[in-house]
């Protein structure tokens, strides 16, 4: 079965695959994770607010993002961001947004909806008395959130947040639909140029598997370590 295999094509393309492709994938993952968690936490706080003008838009946004396929969201932002950008700076034409920034914005905004649901559960997992104690000490809303509630919420939700990030890492492969050279895109290019689809795609699958599997194993160990024994 593996007789006609050309493992050499993988070796030859390693620098391209990792220097160009994997660097893009990891940078995108890291930036979207950071942005997504920040936005997601804000969305969660909005959703838990008792003001309707805060919780209704947040809930609408989260539910909207969660009912639409990521591929469609990628297309949406790819076409929408230049118009919004042009409108923001008052330009006459839609501005040009590079593929990289377009995908960073897309994944940040998309994953924010998923991180928001996790953070909402996290904030709700902190006993009410904690927030009341904060207010009783004279802290305001932001101080109570920043010093009392959110640190505990993050700790409780850390494993789920990290698992979501592993999913984000796998999801970034979908930038393929924009023809971007991420890890999969780089492999697809070589595969089509050299007619070596089998070798390249199997290699990509193995690399993704090793990375994701190792990370999920680490998350599992972390979960055992930080679990609060009751």
């Amino acid at each position: 079965m593996f007789a006609g295999f050309d493992f050499d094509v993988i070796e030859r393309s390693l620098p391209f695959l990792f220097k160009e492709g994997m660097t893009f994938t990891l940078t995108l993952t890291a930036m979207a994770m950071t942005g997504g968690i920040v936005f997601g936490t804000l969305l969660a706080m909005m959703r838990l607010s008792s003001y309707r003008f805060l919780n209704v838009p947040a809930a609408t946004y989260v539910n909207l993002m969660r009912s639409v396929p990521l591929v469609l969201v990628i297309f949406w932002f790819y076409f929408l961001v230049p118009w919004i950008g042009g409108w923001l700076i008052g330009a006459k034409e839609p501005i040009r947004v590079g593929a990289f920034w377009s995908s960073v914005i897309t994944f940040t905004m998309f994953e924010a909806a998923y991180y928001a649901e996790i953070m909402r559960a996290g904030i709700q997992s902190v006993p009410r008395g904690q927030a009341w104690a904060g207010y009783a000490l004279g802290l305001n809303y932001w101080q109570t959130m920043g010093y009392v509630v959110l640190p505990q919420a993050f700790r409780n939700m850390l494993p789920v947040l990290l698992t979501q990030t592993i999913i984000l890492f796998q999801d970034t492969s979908l930038v393929y639909v924009l023809g971007i050279t991420d890890f999969l895109g780089a492999a697809a290019r070589i595969a089509q140029r050299d007619g070596r689809l089998v070798e390249m795609y199997l290699f990509v699958a193995v690399v993704y598997f090793i990375i994701s599997f190792t990370l999920s194993w680490l998350v599992k160990r972390l979960q055992l370590r930080i679990a609060i024994v009751s």
Partner: protein
């Protein structure tokens, strides 16, 4: 900077002579639903079986089940789709591989998409089923044994009916996921809803109308599934049994 809105575009004739653009979206929706439903059958059957096996006392079966779940969970869906579409026909015996490659257009991308989504989701369903069974008190299984039921009977009459009721909400979101994930199949040329919206945008340049329509259709599907499943949950509910909300899970 001005965008020319033209909501009439859905009634304009499509270039391939099959009618109007609206019809394009409807036929795309048809393919989305066909792919998702068929894949869901595979996912549910395989997932329920593997998930159940993972809770049995048979060590090596449990290990195999765990390996299955890890395999399908740790490779991106798009990569798995490429494996089914590009790689599998090359690794199969030549006659079978050639037959796969020579299928007529919609089926050549439809079947790999169905299999890919089915197996991918089956691993996630298996995880839910396992969690559901293990969330039951241990006494339930023991009570079954004490009544003289065999292990399969205990599963059939005691454990599974309770477990499936508990995991209905996460199964609903897995079903939503399979519908949304079917959009990935546009990369291998399946003209489902998102692909239709995309090609409509390419032909008419009315990008925001096309995407808005597709988005509204997806929201409509979500609403129908959510309300439908809520009714199912009500109907199968056993009075006195808690309906667990479930722990927050990462996922899509």
């Amino acid at each position: 900077m001005k965008y020319n809105w033209n909501w009439q575009i859905f009634w304009a004739p499509a270039p391939d002579g099959t009618g109007i653009y609206l019809w394009w979206l409807v036929s795309g929706l048809g393919w989305t639903l066909a792919t998702a439903l068929l894949a869901w059958v595979i996912a549910l059957a395989l997932g329920a079986t593997i998930g159940t096996l993972r809770t049995t006392p048979l060590t090596w079966v449990v290990r195999l089940g765990n390996a299955y779940v890890e395999l399908f969970r740790n490779i991106p869906l798009l990569v798995q789709l490429f494996l089914w579409y590009f790689v599998l026909p090359e690794l199969l015996p030549k006659a079978l591989g050639d037959a796969m490659k020579q299928m007529i257009p919609p089926w050549a991308s439809f079947w790999p998409a169905v299999l890919c989504l089915g197996f991918y989701t089956s691993a996630r369903v298996a995880e839910q089923v396992r969690a559901g069974i293990q969330s039951l008190p241990r006494g339930q299984g023991m009570a079954g044994t004490a009544l003289g039921l065999t292990l399969p009977q205990t599963y059939r009459h005691v454990l599974l009916p309770q477990a499936f009721r508990i995991i209905l909400p996460p199964l609903t979101s897995e079903f939503m996921n399979i519908i949304k994930n079917s959009a990935v199949a546009l990369t291998i040329g399946l003209v489902e809803l998102t692909a239709r919206a995309r090609s409509m945008q390419e032909f008419t340049f009315q990008v925001f109308e096309a995407f808005t329509a597709a988005t509204l259709i997806y929201i409509l599907i979500t609403l129908i599934v959510v309300f439908g499943m809520r009714r199912v949950e009500k109907r199968v509910q056993v009075p006195g049994l808690i309906s667990a909300g479930g722990a927050p899970m990462a996922g899509h």
